[in-house]
Amino acid sequence: MNIDLHEKRIPIIKIGNFLIVSIQVDMHDKLAIQLQSQILEEIEKTGAKGVLIDISVLEMVDSFIGRMLSGMATMASIMDASVVIVGMQPAVAITLVELGLEMPGVDTALNMEKGMEMLEKRLKDDDYKLY
């Protein structure tokens, strides 16, 4: 078997109306871009209304990954899906702010459970608006 460890993909799991992505590796730039399009394709394919991205394992978010995450939130919202980033480590949050990177339009939650509640509430509010 020929496995190229450099070409691993990050799995995307669908549960109900939501996609769950848990980033478990230190991503190089190409992998980050690949993940971005992978998630958008999955939104299109499944009609998911929300995406939870768990970054609790990430020890570092630099300007590239930060921009990838905020860009993805914007693109997903154009496709009628909300993105919530969960589990950012305190040191990562501090560094992001000092780096000067703002992430407009990116919603965050402390953990997966809170992020899920956030998305469910939003979905309910949207349904309410329709009637």
Binding site: H6, D26, M27, H28, D29, K30, E59, M60, V61, D62, S63, F64, R67, Q89, P90, A91, V92, I94, T95, E98, L99, G100, L101
Partner: protein
């Protein structure tokens, strides 16, 4: 622009080559290991790793890769982790502009150099047209 601080009493901890995107990931992880070995706290480890990640990306995108030297030594009476990133790219024409917030050469989106500078205790840069760019950053311990 200016001379880089040097001292023959510094100890070399490692020397790494940046050629591919995977090298960027690997070397920034090694920088964290060095920072940890110097007993830096988790926030400083993250700061220096993130700063170096920005520098390595610049090296890779604009300098066609390069060399990273990691040293430790005393600078201004402080114990420092010293990281020097050198490429042999085309050099930065206007350093003041490249160091200003929000500036981008088009390929990136800014923040790289000024952002990295904010995360370290000392930031030195030297760039010569068609010779290359060297950035030396230090984090006190």
């Amino acid at each position: 622009m200016l001379q880089l601080t040097t001292d023959s009493n510094w100890t070399e901890l490692g020397k790494y080559i940046i050629k591919t995107e995977h090298d960027i990931v690997q070397v920034r992880q090694l920088i964290r290991v060095h920072a940890k070995e110097m007993n830096m706290g988790i926030i400083d480890q993250t700061r220096v790793t993130t700063a170096v990640s920005e520098l390595l990306r610049n090296m890779y995108n604009y300098g066609g890769g390069g060399e990273v030297l990691v040293e430790t030594g005393v600078v201004d009476d402080k114990n420092a982790l010293i990281i020097t990133c050198a490429d042999e790219g085309s050099g930065i024409e206007d350093l003041d502009l490249a160091m200003s917030d929000g500036y981008t050469s088009g390929m990136g989106m800014g923040y790289g150099l000024p952002g990295a500078k904010r995360l370290v205790d000392r930031f030195e840069i030297k760039s010569e047209k068609n010779i290359g760019t060297t950035v030396r950053v230090m984090k006190w311990r």
